[in-house]
């Protein structure tokens, strides 16, 4: 029977099949961070277990780190304690640890690919739902809970029923100012936040084939926001060029052997999916969200939908608009904003900073806007400096912060104040996600940049 890309990677990692139950599923690469790993290590200790393959686990601190003055001790004692726990646990069990201040430190889903830890055909997990990012390389990558982190540490396996398969095709050419983030937000707005629950997605079609690795990572990153466990894209020349010579990528003959194997990772002709959806690139415009889940997005020139046109609960919908301080039928264009956040595992890569700079170049940040520009890693930060992007954004009145998850989940001090509106390049606009009472408008780096210089929601195509 013809196999999909997903079948090939999944089936080759099943250690044991349990009748009427999940598969025992082997994990090639495991990322850990300070927030979801401490209790897993505690469990390990309580049961007197060891880490089975420490060389397959990689630790980085990102969720709960400051994005200024990283050379100083972390002020919040609880945060400092979590960082210390990650360091101590990593040292105790021989796990590579890129803590705060390490030159390779950064957001787990940015530093993994950057260093060649991620590879095509791999199975990758982390106690973080945006692990789906790594699917951009043709890997099966998904988020797990802390109990499962403990399983991976102790046995390198988790127990998972094989998900159903969905293929999402987007064909054609994207218009001016339409980015991978818009493609993802568009798909989520069509599927809703639960439309792909129970499925693993393969993205196919010209739009993804023509996308850079950074763009593919943005798309796969957001798979979880439509409920999918993960999403993946078949590896191709773009993938191999990105990975070649990365610090931990295979070298020499091992590289050639790996590429030969990776080239087989494609969905075969005739392979079937449980569900297949097709969209047209020309239907997608720059997107923005107006509500409190990532499915509540519209093309930036559209109005907020009527409650009657929404599938599902009207009460939930109205509660959401009420929280946002918006009305049905409002236009999003021209809405005043207070904060802009550029960063996160969704849009904290070099291309995102290039896109932001392309709009703000020669303009000035709006006076009333507070902007937080947070690179995904030190490597991204270095490139921002090398490519002259730092000069552009500095001249435009912006300040570059230090790497971390930052205001995406606001565990550190980067919190949007109650009632304030933030155009954010991150992944979730849930109530209070960016700080208690904060109101988030999810969008691309271009839309964020346009809002940052005008102070209101603005169509970036007018500024390009």
């Amino acid at each position: 029977m013809s196999k999909t890309l997903f079948d090939k990677v999944w089936d080759s990692h099943v250690v044991r099949k349990i009748e009427g139950g999940p598969d025992v599923f082997f994990i090639d690469r495991h990322f850990i961070h300070e927030v979801t790993s401490p209790v897993a290590f505690l469990g390990l200790k309580n049961r007197g277990m060891n880490v089975m393959y420490p060389e397959r686990t990689f630790a980085t601190a990102d969720h709960n780190t400051p994005t200024i003055n990283q050379h100083l001790p972390v002020e919040d004692p609880l945060s400092a304690n979590q960082l210390k726990a990650l360091e101590d646990n990593s040292n105790e069990y021989g796990i590579s640890h890129w803590g705060l201040g390490h030159k390779k430190n950064g957001i787990v889903h940015v530093v993994g690919p950057e260093n060649g830890i991620t590879f095509p055909g791999a199975t990758i997990v982390c106690g973080d739902s945006h692990t789906s990012t790594h699917g951009a390389f043709g890997a099966i990558a998904f988020g797990i809970g802390t109990s499962e982190v403990e399983m991976v540490l102790s046995t390198q396996c988790i127990m998972q029923p094989k998900p159903k398969k969905m293929r999402i095709n987007v064909n054609g050419q994207l218009g001016k100012g339409v980015t991978p983030k818009d493609v993802a937000l568009y798909i989520i707005s069509k599927l809703t936040t639960s439309g792909a629950t129970g499925y693993f997605v393969e993205y196919a079609g010209d739009v993804f084939e023509n996308m850079t690795m950074e763009g593919r990572m943005t798309v796969c990153n957001l798979s979880i926001e439509m409920g999918a466990r993960g999403g993946m894209i078949a590896p191709d020349k773009t993938t191999f060029e990105y990975l070649k010579d990365k610090p931990l990528s295979p070298k020499g003959e091992a590289w050639d052997a790996a590429v030969a194997q990776w080239e087989t990772l494609k969905t075969e002709e005739g392979a079937t999916f449980d569900k297949e959806l097709t969209f047209l690139a020309s239907d997608i415009e720059p997107m923005i969200t107006y509500g409190t889940n990532p499915g509540m997005g519209i093309g930036i020139s559209n109005n907020i939908p009527d409650a009657d046109t929404i599938e599902g609960g009207v009460a939930t919908y109205k509660k959401s608009l009420d929280y946002m301080g918006y009305q049905e039928n409002d236009s999003m264009l021209g809405k005043k904003i207070d904060y802009v956040f550029l960063g996160s595992c969704t849009n904290g890569r070099i291309e995102d900073f290039r896109a932001f700079a392309s709009i703000v170049k020669g303009k000035q940040k709006a006076d009333h806007v507070t902007a937080w520009l947070v690179p995904g890693s030190h490597e991204v930060e270095d490139k921002i400096k090398e490519e002259g992007i730092l000069d552009i954004i500095t001249e435009a009145g912006f300040v570059l912060r230090q790497p971390g998850c930052s205001a995406c989940l606001a565990m550190n001090d980067d919190k949007i104040p109650a009632g304030k509106y933030a155009v954010s390049t991150s992944n979730r606009n849930f109530e209070g996600r960016q700080g208690p009472g904060s109101r988030t408008l999810l969008a691309s780096p271009l839309v964020a940049a346009a809002a940052a210089v005008t102070g209101v929601v603005t169509d970036p195509r007018d500024l390009l």
């Binding site: 106690g127 109990s147 889940n293």
Partner: protein, 198 residues
């Protein structure tokens, strides 16, 4: 950490008929700073439950003394968003042993099963019946029978069966977890790992 056995749970229930309840609502990120699994129940639904000055919000169901019990009944797409197991811990620590919804987000459901909280998925119609029964009489008891895979509204006798895979069911009936299983097959895992290229 193996957990308590789950067999038959008969309890009153707490209704939360909102859709898309995400794990940031169940437990906001700023309460994830602990390095031990303790006290998460205090911050369950923190920002819906308390005002900024920590006074309780009167209109939130957990602050309404007429509703209590070990079963939480949520709306469609319960537990979406972040993979934080802390959300399941908070539900457990508060005292719930079962969550009922017409649709669960994947990772939350998994996390519940891994710590001994039973996620029971019912039809939208049955979900509606449960909400109606609770709103009619807050003392309505719901019976969840894992062995039989049934959920019953005691006052009306309405019953529906629910799905759970047989492996997880055995685990919950016996209080075993996946680590107990995996620990017993390390040799097989090692052989598998030895055959991998990378």
């Amino acid at each position: 950490m193996a957990y308590d056995k789950f067999n038959i749970l008969t309890s009153t229930a707490v209704p939360l008929p909102l859709e898309n309840v995400d794990t940031d609502q169940i437990i906001p990120a700023r309460f994830l700073k602990a390095t031990e699994r303790k006290g998460f129940g205090d911050n369950l639904f923190r920002d819906w439950r308390y005002n900024g000055d920590d006074t309780p919000k009167e209109d939130f169901v957990l602050n309404n003394p007429i509703y209590s019990g070990k079963i939480l009944v949520g709306g469609k797409n319960f537990g979406s968003g972040s993979s934080r197991e802390h959300a399941a811990w908070a539900v457990y620590d508060y005292g719930f042993r079962c969550v009922v919804s017409s649709f669960f987000a994947d990772i939350f459901k998994n996390n519940c099963l891994n710590i001994g909280v039973l996620p029971v998925q019912v039809s939208p119609e049955f979900s509606e019946q449960i909400f109606n029964a609770i709103y009619e009489d807050a003392n309505t008891e719901i019976e969840v029978n894992l062995q039989e895979q049934t959920i019953t509204i005691k006052s009306t006798g309405a019953q529906e069966s629910f799905d759970i895979n047989s492996y997880k069911k055995e685990n919950m009936l016996n209080g075993f977890d996946d680590i107990d299983y995996l620990q017993n097959m390390k040799g097989e895992i090692e052989t598998f790992a030895n055959g991998l290229m990378l």
